[in-house]
């Protein structure tokens, strides 16, 4: 039976045999899944040029088991035109999804956030700082969706509200713990101002300090989930 077209994005493609592709899709209803696109690399294939990352697609597939066969895909809506550093940020989003989501684990909320983040990033009116803030908010949603939500408005031990003028130490297993004394030098990178935590909680990262802290906190929170393998898309920002 032919199923209806589903909203999805291509996260990654890999050559398969002579003219086919293995495609990792991020779908709204089924999460990440791998499909085979037969003949997609042939010059006259209608899927050529369509199976590219960051394009909003409608696609359908069929088959039994883990590896489904892609039956068709078309661009749905305005194709994004991504360039330069923005494009590298988008690769970063894809690498996060590929590394942190399990196949066939649906996350419609995250799918919406991904779509909105791409739309925001490709808009040339937005400043580099605004775009960076958007990446942090996407990371926040991602952590929520995979069960590692950060409790940004509550002290972990007492349960009392995070206060803007106090400092808190981030501990991956516990959460944010009140840091009354001045932290030692090697502890300092784990400590955050209440102001920055509340800004991230309210998704308002306009302040440069808050933005920098949000980046540091997200790195610390993502590190244990990503493991030892470095994020390759981060390396591409070094010269930028």
């Amino acid at each position: 039976m032919m199923q209806a077209m589903q909203a999805c994005f291509v996260l990654h493609t890999r050559d398969y045999r002579d003219s086919s592709l293995l495609v990792d899709l991020f779908t709204c209803d089924q999460g990440i899944m791998r499909v085979i696109a037969n003949g997609a690399k042939r010059p006259r294939s209608p899927m050529r040029g369509v199976l590219q990352p960051f394009l909003p697609l409608l696609a359908h597939w069929s088959g039994k088991g883990e590896l489904q066969t892609l039956r068709g895909a078309e661009i749905h809506g305005t194709p994004y035109y991504l360039q330069g550093a923005t494009l590298l940020s988008c690769f970063y989003l894809n690498e996060l999804l590929v590394r942190l989501l399990h196949h066939y684990d649906p996350h419609p909320g995250l799918f919406r956030a991904y779509h909105q983040t791409l739309a925001f990033l490709q808009n040339k009116q937005h400043s580099a700082a605004d775009k960076e803030g958007r990446l942090r908010l996407f990371e926040k949603v991602l952590l929520q969706e995979i069960g590692y939500a950060l409790q940004l408005d509550q002290e972990a031990h007492s349960g009392s509200a995070i206060l803007a003028d106090c400092n808190y130490r981030f501990s991956p297993e516990i959460g944010l713990v009140l840091q009354a004394q001045r932290p030692s030098q090697d502890l300092a990178r784990w400590v955050f101002s209440g102001k920055s935590l509340l800004a991230l909680h309210q998704s308002e990262l306009d302040d440069a300090d808050c933005l920098r802290d949000a980046k540091r906190l997200m790195r610390l929170a993502l590190a244990p989930l990503l493991g030892d393998k470095p994020m390759r898309s981060r390396e591409l920002f070094v010269v930028g």
Partner: protein, 205 residues
């Protein structure tokens, strides 16, 4: 099975070629044995020689059996122009147009973070060194129009920002002889974004 282990081995061997399935491998093997044993010997010899001796040019990284390829050694090429391509096949495609007389650098791939392919894997440190050492005045980026090609072009542009040289990227757009209405919307959007200015006097007048 052909009842000849050597023939089976040949058929199996031919299947490592792209586009060659069991049926065509069998046809090729029979053709060589039935009709063209000399051609087959020639092929076997050429294959061995090439695999043994062809490596990569030290300067441009395209295939070459010498330290420097014929193109890099060619006296007539313009030394101040450098065209950066992804593959040796791309280099040949540009050569066949006959419009470019400079030299090349072949990346042998493109940046692809999700495949773990980073700047070192496509020779970018060597490229940077070459650009700073040689008096290159013009760099032409001829990457493919995929997002990976775009990311690679961006990275190279950033990498050589401090170097005094002009950088351009080959235009992508509408194929010659193509009707606009049949062109996919992305290509058309791209062609629009990178449109050429023909005259700018009309606004002021």
């Amino acid at each position: 099975m052909t009842f000849s282990p050597l023939l089976d081995q040949l058929i199996q061997g031919l299947r490592c070629l792209p586009g060659v399935g069991p049926k065509s491998a069998q046809r090729m093997a029979f053709h060589l044995l039935e009709r063209d044993r000399d051609g087959g010997k020639h092929l076997a010899d050429a294959l061995l020689q090439a695999l043994e001796h062809v490596g990569h040019c030290r300067l441009c990284r395209t295939f070459s059996e010498d330290e420097l390829c014929l193109l890099c050694r060619h006296q007539g090429r313009e030394l101040h122009k450098l065209c950066i391509v992804e593959t040796p096949a791309d280099l040949l495609a540009i050569e066949q147009t006959g419009t470019y007389r400079g030299r090349y650098f072949v990346l042998l791939g493109h940046l692809s973070p999700l495949d773990g392919i980073g700047p070192e894997d496509i020779g970018l440190p060597a490229l940077q060194q070459r650009i700073t050492q040689e008096a290159i005045q013009e760099i032409i980026l001829a990457m493919s129009t995929t997002v990976e090609g775009e990311a690679t072009a961006h990275y190279i542009t950033e990498m050589i920002k401090g170097v005094k040289t002009s950088i351009s990227r080959i235009a992508h757009g509408i194929p010659l002889g193509g009707d606009l209405e049949y062109i996919d919307s992305r290509t058309l959007a791209h062609a629009f974004e990178s449109r050429l200015l023909l005259s700018s006097s009309s606004v002021a007048e």
